[in-house]
């Protein structure tokens, strides 16, 4: 199954339209698309607005490929389950995000194993074919936690004393009293 997802925030009809067209030419492929608040409703592949977290994880686990926006939620979840991904970065100029950080994210991610980046929607079919042929999942799953040194540093900081005196009773109660 190929899981198409645009994350959970803004619509991304450019990706959904391109994948609906791809689905029309690939009738044997089982697919599911999470389209969010997009105005375009696919005609050639099953779709949902938004999966809850459990259904989302179940779908990622069952997929052989993810085709997605270049969002870290999708990319990290795919990596945690060892799934290959094809990414189409959102463009700020097309109103697809607040800014162009997904192009920066994609530029960094494209060298990582299991990740292919389509710079334009026209590149998607070739990226999908290459990902499916290469079985990129061989990259293997990453662990579920951040590196221990990072965790230790945050833990030590959080465990420290409050830097400011806590007003007795709190500001809210003082105002009420």
């Amino acid at each position: 199954m190929i899981f198409v997802t645009i994350g959970s925030m803004f619509p991304f009809d450019r990706l959904i339209r391109a994948m609906d067209a791809w689905a029309a030419t690939s009738p044997g492929e089982e697919m599911l698309a999470q389209i969010g608040a997009g105005g375009f409703e696919p005609a050639h592949m099953p779709w949902v607005r938004k999966l809850d977290r459990e259904a989302y994880v179940r779908t990622v686990r069952g997929a052989r490929l993810l085709v997605a926006h270049a969002g870290m939620g999708t990319v990290i979840t795919a990596a945690e389950y060892g799934k290959p991904v094809v990414l189409l970065p959102r463009q700020g100029a097309l109103g697809e995000h607040n800014n162009d950080h997904q192009a920066d994210t994609a530029a960094w991610l494209r060298t990582r194993p299991g990740i292919r980046v389509a710079d334009a929607e026209g590149d998607l079919p070739a990226c999908i074919a290459a990902a499916l042929a290469g079985e990129d999942a061989a990259a293997g799953a990453i662990g579920a936690h951040a590196p221990q040194a990072f965790l230790d540093r945050i833990r030590a900081f959080v465990a420290g004393p409050r830097p400011r005196s806590d007003p007795p009773g709190g500001l809210s109660r003082r105002r009420r009293g």
Binding site: S8, G73, T105, F157, P163, P167, G170
Partner: protein
């Protein structure tokens, strides 16, 4: 207290949660229910406010202030976005909490707008890319990957 938006922000926070093992953990999030992987945890759902729906800001501030007054957290940690920034500001002033901002690893070239504003309210003001760190902050302590 961890106060983090859903989507990629939460997926990054999940990778940091082991840092809080053994602490009393409270979660604030923009999903209606807590991530089931958290198990039994006190969870406060809040409105997800961004520049697109800034009119809902008073509701969000009220929800966050209520959670912070009730919990009086020793520390508040966020991986963004806007609601996390407001949670840090409120926790600092209402409860004297230690505050930690961890900017998204997605921001490889520059911090987000809320990340830059977090410099005013975060006791630990962190980026996940070493080349974005500055001596006066933001600082680099590592990354979720």
């Amino acid at each position: 207290m961890v106060a983090t938006s859903d989507g990629g922000h939460w997926v990054q926070m999940r990778r940091i949660l082991p840092a809080f093992a053994g602490f009393e953990l409270v979660c604030v999030g923009t999903e209606p229910r807590a991530d089931p992987d958290l198990g039994p945890v006190r969870y406060y759902p809040v409105r997800n406010v961004s520049r697109a729906n800034a009119h809902a800001l008073p509701v969000l501030v009220w929800q966050l202030a209520r959670a912070i007054r009730r919990e009086r957290p020793d520390a508040v940690v966020t991986t963004g976005a806007g609601p996390g920034l407001i949670a840090l500001a409120l926790a600092r002033h209402l409860a004297g909490s230690r505050t930690v901002w961890i900017d998204s690893i997605a921001n490889t070239e520059r911090m987000s707008l809320s990340g830059r504003m977090a410099g005013w309210v975060a006791d630990a003001w962190l980026v996940q890319w070493e080349h974005l760190a500055r001596p006066e902050g933001p600082h680099y302590w590592g990354a979720v990957l």
